[in-house]
């Protein structure tokens, strides 16, 4: 009795996870699961729609999150067909532990300073972040945008002073933007692609000079073990193609070359 109940439970659980992976329902449709860095949310949502329109019967499901968290999920659960990371480091990690194919760099991104429009702490340049009392929020170490921010501060020689001004280590760039649009913190270091049209009136962006800035390279790849390698490869090719590149540019990304 007990054993059969357990078996039923496991069967149901396997069916449920099977459904979420292959999905489908109607014949002739397939769902491609794409894990993408949260900084890609706007651009990839658009690219996904365009890809579906160009490939009838294909559905793209996105899971956006911090690249490190997504990499860990892929490594422990293997539920992604395609992975788009905000840093080579986490793609390397997945490549080593799970395996990837068709890897290509598809975009670059640079960091900017954002402040609330009223700029309560009077931040005009990177150096102003080092002034005592400025409330700075960064992404936590280990999150790509957080590591890049620390690199920029080190390049500028003000890491120690700015890090002592940090009031919170947030989980990703979306959380940083939220802390600035709500006016809780004085300044944050985020990707230039985070200053989307949706938030451009709620934040002020201040450029960081190229010599100290960090340029982040975004790799995309098909994850080993995908049930639909053809669609996955087609999606990777589409992202590196002209249509998707134009979309990425409109969301503030730089070309990969």
């Amino acid at each position: 009795m007990r054993r059969s109940a357990t078996a039923t439970f496991l069967a149901v659980a396997l069916l449920a996870t099977g459904c979420s992976r292959a999905d489908g329902g109607a014949p002739g449709t397939s769902t491609l699961t794409v894990f993408a860095a949260s900084s890609l949310t706007g651009a990839f949502t658009q690219i996904g729609k365009d890809f579906e329109a160009a490939n009838p019967g294909t559905h793209v499901a996105f899971s956006f999150g911090p690249s490190d968290g997504l990499a860990q999920q892929i490594e422990s659960e293997g539920t992604a067909d395609v992975f788009a990371s905000a840093s080579g480091t986490w793609m390397d990690d997945v490549a080593t532990k799970v395996g990837v194919t068709d890897r290509a760099d598809f975009a670059k991104n640079r960091l900017v300073i954002i402040t609330p429009p009223s700029d309560p702490a009077n931040v005009r340049s990177l150096a102003d972040l080092a002034r005592p009392g400025v409330q700075v929020v960064l992404a936590a170490a280990g999150v790509p945008v957080g590591d890049y921010a620390r690199q920029v501060l080190t390049n500028a020689g003000i890491a120690k002073q700015v890090l002592s001004n940090v009031v919170s280590n947030e989980q990703d760039d979306a959380a940083l933007v939220a802390k600035i649009t709500s006016g809780e913190a004085d300044a944050a270091l985020v990707y230039s692609s985070d200053v989307t049209s949706a938030v451009s009136t709620d934040v002020k962006a201040i450029p960081i000079p190229d010599p100290v800035n960090v340029i982040a390279t975004y790799p995309i790849a098909v994850v080993h073990g995908t049930s639909q390698p053809d669609v996955a490869q087609a999606f990777v090719a589409y992202v590196t193609g002209p249509a998707a590149q134009a979309t990425l540019a409109s969301f503030g990304f730089l070309p990969p070359g």
């Binding site: 007990r2 936590a140 989980q171």
Partner: protein, 245 residues
């Protein structure tokens, strides 16, 4: 099977934890700081819950007033509301630009966000219902004739409260406070949202688990298990009250 459902994730944690590094991880500066801060924050949160919750429970249990059902529903809300929503709500109310927060900032130059006080408020809010519900249930179960008898014999209201009601209620209050404390200890979403994440100031144990998982996922399981152990200790301490009918 139900027991297996609860046990399985724990077994997973146990299997993944890198035991050889456990001592080093638990004794690291960041872990110790987070432990200390967690005890401080959850302790203060439970105290705040008791201070605000006991009078409210008494009113809810003993006074009939219009809108009592509404107030009771409101009190339970933090229990079912996603903690992140509680965090957003706290920001909207007490943040630097919030309804009350903007005024606090202007009038007193007081900013709550990113402070230990904010962590206490966030954890106190989500654990508040546990104290009120336990105390109210306790008050309802007290034989009203005992209080009437004391009152008839000339006990003042304060004396009655101190010598009759509270001693009868003691175990219920203790159980409610312990549950609220344990809930406060595990709080994550509302704290991250309202108080942020900074070592030594707002980085409680669950936030330390989150931050460690960014750089050392396996190491984070050790810290996670430490939290489980504390929760387990609370259950064991309360087992007579909670687990026997």
């Amino acid at each position: 099977m139900g027991a297996a459902f609860v046990a399985l994730p724990l077994v997973g944690l146990l299997a993944r934890a890198p035991w050889s590094r456990a001592a080093a991880i638990l004794s690291s500066d960041s872990s110790r700081t987070a432990f200390r801060l967690s005890l401080e924050v959850s302790g203060l949160a439970a105290a705040l819950d008791l201070t605000l919750g006991l009078p409210l429970a008494w009113v809810l249990a003993r006074k009939a007033f219009p809108g009592r059902t509404f107030v009771r529903g409101l009190v339970v809300l933090p229990l079912v509301m996603p903690p992140v929503v509680a965090g957003v709500a706290l920001l909207a109310a007490l943040g630097r630009r919030g309804l009350v927060g903007a005024w606090l900032d202007r009038a007193f130059g007081l900013q709550l966000t990113f402070t230990t006080g904010a962590a206490v408020l966030a954890t106190a809010l989500v654990s508040f219902p546990l104290v009120v519900l336990a105390a109210e249930a306790g008050l309802r179960s007290i034989d009203a004739r005992l209080e009437q008898a004391a009152s008839f014999l000339g006990a003042s209201r304060w004396y009655l409260m101190r010598r009759v009601t509270l001693p009868l209620l003691g175990p219920q209050i203790a159980a409610g406070a312990a549950l609220a404390w344990a809930r406060a200890l595990g709080e994550f979403g509302a704290t991250l949202m309202f108080a942020g994440n900074l070592r030594g100031r707002t980085q409680t144990l669950p936030l330390a688990v989150f931050e460690l998982s960014q750089t050392d996922p396996r190491g984070a399981t050790v810290l996670a298990l430490a939290l489980v152990a504390v929760s387990l200790a609370v259950i064991v301490a309360l087992r007579r009250r909670l687990l026997t009918p």
